[in-house]
């Protein structure tokens, strides 16, 4: 809702538009508006609340309780009435911001009560996680497809709405200088880091069932990987872009059975310190059983088995209660082929790296060697840094704002397609199964450290190391 309000502030909402909220509980329109007002005032990225914009925005907010079939009938009547009043031609966007286990029920009800409307378009926006594994994701897709066609389903992965994530495509395909070196020939390896310093906060119940693999790797990380590794699409539209992404996901070498222990590491945080404050262990979080085996950390070594990436590993790590919040993709290039300068002179020289920072401060940096200004030759690595905010002097739009506008316009480029979700589950399922059937629990790591020692071993075996993210 803060995203919608901010779109209103930016005059990006359609001229004729309304929001109908629904839930099991009963609320009047006014109670609903007041509830949202408080939430938006607290969470909006623009503060304080612009009262005048809010007032006119709030006039378009309605609420219908849907505890039972009669509720859905009421909803249909309200929608039809509003269509008439607003002239919206029964164009409807259904946004499911509910617990995932309710998706099937709600979509079925949308179908059963003919909420789609007879004219106009209908789309449904679904939040992650989409399914719990490959099988449940397929079942959910089947249920949804009894009501919506695949091109009407918008699966949100909010990472794709982030400016820098979209910028990956711009960097790669709007510039001439990067693509020629974007392959096994020049790239030694790729590191994708999605680090969070927060713990599970109030989401313990959800997280306990999910874990880092399902919460982050299955969606955000694999999407980032696909964008970095994909071939140039023929057009910038939903079909061409997603076709190329899914090819990458299909080319991901499966990690299963005995390979899991060599290529995948999980972990769970214990007590430690974050930003100077003592924090509890995962198993001490409210709502987490004291013998929980849920992973809060995942590191993977993965391969994209195709012509472009043969022999170039993609290292992935993500976790909670890591020392800092940081999401980045680092393309680590090979070292210069001939060592022209003496070893002493180049002690401070590291291989080139192009780093795409997604958060906290969005930007791009390029690391290269430069001569230290002294007599004789001494070489140091320097970082040339492009900072999104400082260069464009504006705040990047929030990911949800971008995605909601896209969904309203019917552009699905930044949403995840059925086959992508399917491939993503196909990749993570065997790893999760191997972990579930292993008698050992996840190795522990102290909160505020970069994960368990096994994760370091995973990359150090190959003579490489994790970046200082």
């Amino acid at each position: 809702m803060p995203a919608l309000y901010n779109l209103a502030l930016q005059r990006l909402l359609p001229a004729s538009f309304c929001v109908v909220g629904t839930a099991r509980k009963a609320l009047t329109d006014d109670e609903y508006r007041e509830e949202l007002r408080l939430a938006v005032a607290q969470h909006s990225r623009t503060r304080p609340l612009n009262e005048e914009v809010w007032r006119s925005f709030a006039e378009q907010l309605y609420f219908v309780a849907t505890p039972d079939d009669q509720g859905y009938e009421n909803l249909r009547e309200t929608l039809e009435r509003l269509d008439e009043e607003l002239g919206t031609h029964a164009n409807r966007l259904f946004y499911l911001a509910t617990p995932p286990n309710a998706y099937a029920t709600i979509v079925t009800a949308i179908g059963a009560h003919h909420l789609r409307g007879r004219t106009g378009w209908a789309r449904v926006v679904v939040e992650k996680p989409f399914g719990h594994d490959r099988e449940s994701a397929r079942q959910l897709t089947e249920v949804i497809q009894t009501v919506f066609r695949e091109d009407e389903v918008f699966r949100i992965d909010h990472y794709l709405g982030k400016e820098t994530v979209q910028n990956i495509l711009v960097m790669r395909f709007a510039n001439g200088i990067f693509e020629p070196v974007w392959s096994r020939q020049y790239v030694d390896h790729v590191q994708i880091t999605v680090a969070e310093s927060i713990g599970v906060e109030e989401r313990a119940g959800y997280y306990e069932q999910t874990g880092a693999m399902r919460d982050v790797v299955q969606n955000h990380v694999l999407q980032l990987l696909a964008l970095v590794a994909m071939e140039p699409p023929a057009a910038f539209d939903d079909k061409a872009v997603r076709d190329e992404k899914v090819k990458v996901l299909r080319a991901l070498r499966p990690i299963r059975g005995a390979e899991v222990s060599a290529s995948a590491v999980r972990g769970q945080y214990t007590r430690g310190f974050i930003e100077g404050v003592a924090v509890p262990a995962y198993r001490e979080e409210h709502g987490v059983p004291s013998d929980s085996r849920t992973e809060t950390y995942v590191a993977l070594k993965s391969w994209v088995d195709n012509w472009r990436w043969e022999g170039t590993p993609f290292y992935i790590r993500t976790g909670k209660r890591l020392p800092k919040r940081s999401t980045e993709i680092a393309i680590q290039f090979r070292v210069a082929p001939h060592k022209l300068f003496p070893r002493e002179a180049s002690e401070g020289l590291e291989p080139n790296a192009l780093v795409l920072r997604i958060q906290p401060d969005e930007g791009v940096s390029l690391k290269f060697g430069a001569k230290v200004p002294v007599q004789g030759i001494r070489i140091r690595s320097v970082n040339m840094d492009f900072d999104y905010g400082a260069s464009f002097m504006v705040d990047a739009p929030d990911a949800y704002e971008t995605l909601i506008v896209d969904a309203l316009r019917g552009d699905a480029t930044l949403f995840t397609r059925r086959d992508e979700v399917d491939q993503q589950w196909a990749f993570v399922d065997p790893i999760l199964e191997a972990w579930a059937s292993s008698p050992a629990g996840p190795p522990l790591y102290e909160a505020g450290t970069w994960g368990p020692a096994d994760a370091d071993a995973l990359i150090e075996r190959d003579g490489r190391e994790w970046r200082k993210a």
Binding site: E275, K324, V382, N383, G448, K468
Partner: protein, 381 residues
């Protein structure tokens, strides 16, 4: 509660996220200002520098030095001010401030300064406040003001983040304790991080001049025939505080390069200095004296002059380097059989902390010559 000088350190930020927002705001303001002048600000950083201080005066002095270096070493400096003296029961707390100081002419580069103030028993939590502040993937220098503790979690944690540890034994009154301690840190650091001492950096002009003597073919044979060395170092007028570390490092350096061995243990000489009975690689004794001298303008502990005596094929040679009273020049003299054969005056580089730090930040990794000198010195004493 002592309040830090926010005019100097910048406004207090409530946590890392708030600090980042504040830095973005400051950067934007700087960038907007630069645009008006038709310039751009390059956010080119080459290093992270963590400064550890236990007194605000030291922290400020260090911060001023680093900001002067912004042009040479654009960096993010994280100044840690730890009130270790805080009373028991004071709640451990970490406070952060940030600031983008602009040195003259340095408007095109970005230098970020962050103050992390730790109060109470923050030993365990300090590193967790610093890691999120480091610029990713850049080398980390740790400048430890005062005597580095050999134990304690925060020292271990901070050193664990660092690629290079910089100490200054000029601030340390007990070299007999501190130097072996630093040598132990060096031994543990092998392959993990480099160690250096600003007192070693101060010796560079002296080592250069001494080395230059023996580059001359006619004088080269004297190098293996040294019979005595005298090193003078500054003390205050009443000669109470003695800081001989710098002079001692010079002896360690000669010993490590020339493979000298101890004959006896370190013994105090009658004049308040130190006397080292040392054997050359060929077993012949070398008399080495390190003595304090009072000289106007000479900082305590700084080397004032070096005299190397040698005998070769019946000739007695003396190689002398002296600091001029003007503090800005060195004179080098060579005497053969008491007759001056050569004399020259060269400029003496500024001993300002900013210059020394600048030198050390240009080096990544370990300085084997220093580590060898320190190890040799510890063996001699």
């Amino acid at each position: 509660m002592i309040v830090v000088d926010t005019a100097f350190w910048g406004a207090r930020a409530n946590g890392v996220a708030a600090l980042e927002r504040e830095l973005v705001r400051l950067r934007r303001a700087q960038s907007a200002h630069a645009r008006e002048l038709g310039r751009t600000v390059a956010r080119a950083s080459v290093l992270n520098l963590i400064v550890y201080a236990e007194r605000e005066a030291h922290a400020k002095r260090a911060a001023l030095s680093i900001s002067e270096l912004a042009l040479r070493h654009p960096s993010r400096a994280i100044v840690v001010l730890a009130d270790r003296g805080a009373r028991e029961g004071v709640e451990a707390e970490i406070e952060m401030h940030c600031h983008l100081p602009m040195a003259d002419g340095a408007t095109q580069v970005c230098y970020e300064q962050i103050l992390v103030r730790a109060r109470g028993d923050s030993d365990k939590r300090l590193a967790s406040a610093i890691i999120p502040l480091l610029v990713p993937d850049l080398p980390v220098f740790l400048w430890w003001t005062g005597t580095p503790p050999m134990t304690g979690r925060s020292f271990g944690d901070l050193v664990g983040l660092a690629d290079r540890l910089i100490v200054d034994t000029a601030d340390i009154a007990r070299p007999d304790v501190a130097l072996p301690g630093i040598a132990r840190i060096c031994a543990q650091a092998r392959g993990l991080f480099g160690v250096t001492d600003l007192n070693w950096t101060r010796l560079t002009p002296w080592r250069e001049m001494i080395t230059a003597f023996f580059d001359v073919p006619a004088w080269r044979p004297f190098l293996d025939r040294i019979t005595g060395v005298r090193v003078g170092f500054g003390v205050d007028m009443d000669g109470r505080d003695i800081h001989p570390s710098q002079a001692l490092l010079f002896i360690g350096w000669l010993a490590s390069r020339l493979r000298w061995r101890p004959l006896n243990a370190l013994a105090p000489s009658e004049a308040g200095g130190l006397l080292f009975p040392i054997a050359r690689a060929d077993g012949v004794p070398v008399m080495v004296r390190v003595r304090p001298r009072f000289e106007r303008g000479l900082d305590e502990g700084d080397v004032s002059g070096i005299r190397v005596q040698a005998e070769h094929e019946g000739q007695r040679a003396e190689f002398v380097v002296k600091r001029q009273p003007d503090e800005r020049h060195q004179t080098t003299t060579v005497l053969i059989d008491g007759r001056t054969r050569w004399e020259r005056t060269v400029p003496l580089p500024s001993p300002a902390i900013v210059e020394l730090i600048g030198e050390e930040l240009a080096i990544i990794g370990s300085d084997r010559t220093y580590e060898d000198a320190l190890a040799a010195l510890v063996r001699l004493s």
